[in-house]
Amino acid sequence: MTTNDLTKPTPAAEGTTEPVVQLKGVGKLYGNVRALEGIDLDVRPGQVTCVLGDNGAGKSTLIKIISGLHQHDEGEYVVDGKPVRLHNPREALNLGIATVYQDLATVPLMPVWRNFFLGSELTRGPWPIRRLDIERMKETTQTELSAMGIHLDNLEQPIGTLSGGQRQSVAIARAVYFGARVLILDEPTAALGVKQSGVVLKYIAAARERGLGVIFITHNPHHAYMVGDHFSVLRLGALELNAARDDVSLEELTNHMAGGTELAALKHELAQVRGVDVEELPEVVNSPST
């Protein structure tokens, strides 16, 4: 199996619109640790780009560069055809790029509505007495959360008292609300139950319908395949697969995710452990032709 076979772009799907965000050979070093190398990625309006990969593959690092939290050390980061270097998340937000971070979602001790609008507060009144428009912020928070299927009795409660899934949903609702052009979601479904995951996937689909470019990071190839238009699989900081939906099947994707040959080896090892029924394990697909 060759990766080249899979990276053929389908002109119909990808050539039509110019990418909003584009990475060209981007690399990132954490001291001596090479977290990313030679990453190419296109985010087009109305498309969902899924980024998959093992733990530590560099997925979070990749989106932190796009969202302005870290800077890239190599290659080019292009927005609307112009190379940029974002110094903080505010600059990314001003370009219409909003992010739900895996590990940096909310401020636990602050009320839900304050978290929702943190950094983008609504105000009213002229300068010396310019103050928060609390009414409007609470209303909007309530509306956006119910649209997401979350019903909270009390928006004043510290967000830290919500369940992990609820917290994540608030963070997603916030990014969907503020992400004017590009929406980045780092493992948004990891902490969610089946129903909430479904809601998030619907949200991603809805964002695509509205013409947003979405970057969806996940461990779950099934979730990715349900909404994705383009798939990038990272392994040890490099792109292992970069393919449009038409060029890759769910099996292939799953296989790439798991690292096909490694999975076969694992199955072989497990076969020697008493009590594991290897026949019950899913088939390992090694190449598209099998």
Binding site: N94, A180, K202, E209
Partner: protein, 356 residues
């Protein structure tokens, strides 16, 4: 705001959820009151008041109460600024000596130049704000904890206070400035007495209350207040959603600088002369007042009203001991007990409030 139209509201995906069903009953008023950071301090203040009211007859007089308020105000103006800083997640151990530095600067500058005292007052303000700015920049540039950075500036300021004063006056106290130009007007602004219902109340009490109102408004009703809570509650998360965390922290250190200047000017015009060694140790009283008022040491939680109550408790204990004819040495013991009790009460209150 860069994006005006709420994009998501336009096409919300069909929500599978049924009609919103309330799982908790309307939270009772008591429960909501318990969720306030300053509730522990309020209970403590009432308790301390009743205690001294019972044991010290002098404490019941109106002018004694004015003295208590005055004691509270000089500590309290600083405690307000320090509590904002603590909510923002940082400490300032140089806050105590910074008050003295400001007073010394204003006094010696005016005296040496035989200028109008307002010149000294103005320059002292610039110096105090700069000290705050430097503290903030040091914190951000070095990435060291503010405990360390401000400990260093505490020592440096303390050294400068003594060294420069001795250099210029050959003494550890400044020359009296009460016969200089502008002294009367400056005293009227910073250290006059206002008569309320026949009782003389120091003007600092009114500043204290006004600042507490302003700080509360800023904390709860402005963007900047939101940023303070966020910077202290989770610095990285705040930065990730676009809060200018560094700017917020620098502004908070400069607020402490401003408060140090204000209190420094009061002390200068109240007493005409300044002792160079004063102020050491007060930084802990400011922090303690803030903690009694419900500020978390870890940041992200607290209130200005709490800090006001904390300083008021200090004033009551400080004067109450005198009025009860006890040895003033007991003061520190009392403060220790208060601190321990208040922290435990705050801990308990927060657990109650967090329970749904």
């Amino acid at each position: 705001m860069t994006q005006a139209a709420p994009p998501a509201a336009a096409t919300p995906p069909a929500s599978p959820a049924a009609a919103p069903k309330s799982r908790t009953a309307e939270r009772s008023l008591a429960r909501r009151a318990l969720a306030r950071p300053e509730i522990g301090a309020l209970v403590a203040a009432v308790g301390v008041y009743i205690f001294f009211f019972a044991v010290a007859p002098t404490f019941r007089q109106a002018d004694s109460f004015a003295t208590v308020l005055y004691q509270g105000s000089t500590l309290g103006i600083m405690a307000l600024a320090v509590s904002l800083l603590m909510i923002g997640g940082e400490f300032d151990l140089s806050a105590g000596v910074a008050v003295t530095s400001s007073a010394l600067a204003a006094s010696m500058l005016s005296f040496q130049l035989t200028a109008n005292v307002w010149v000294g007052v103005g320059v002292a303000l610039v110096i105090s704000l700069s000290v705050g700015l430097i503290n903030g920049l040091l914190l951000i540039k070095t990435g060291l904890p503010s405990f360390l950075v401000s400990l260093a500036s505490f020592l440096m300021l303390q050294g400068l206070n003594l060294a420069i004063t001795k250099l210029l006056t050959d003494n550890v106290a400044t020359n009296a400035i009460n016969d200089m130009d502008g002294f009367e007007s400056a005293k009227a602004v910073f250290a006059s007495e206002v008569t309320v219902f026949g009782v003389d109340v120091n003007i600092t009490v009114f500043y204290w209350l006004a600042f507490a109102g302003l700080a509360t408004w800023v904390l709860l009703r402005t963007k900047f207040g939101n940023w303070i809570f966020a910077a202290g509650g989770s610095k990285e998360s705040a930065r990730a959603v676009g809060v200018p965390v560094n700017l917020t922290k620098i502004a908070l250190f400069m607020t402490v600088g401003f408060a140090a200047w204000f209190v420094g000017m009061h002390l200068l015009f109240e007493y005409n002369t300044v002792q160079a060694g004063e102020g050491v140790g007060n930084e802990f009283y400011y922090i303690i007042a803030a903690v009694i008022g419900g500020c978390l040491l870890t940041g992200g939680y607290g209130s200005a009203i709490g800090a006001l109550l904390g300083a008021f408790i200090f004033g009551m204990v400080n004067q109450g001991i005198v009025y009860a004819n006890w040895n003033p040495d007991w003061f520190k013991f009392f403060v220790g007990v208060m601190l321990l009790l208040a922290t435990l009460v705050n801990l308990w209150v927060r657990r109650q409030a967090a329970r749904r």
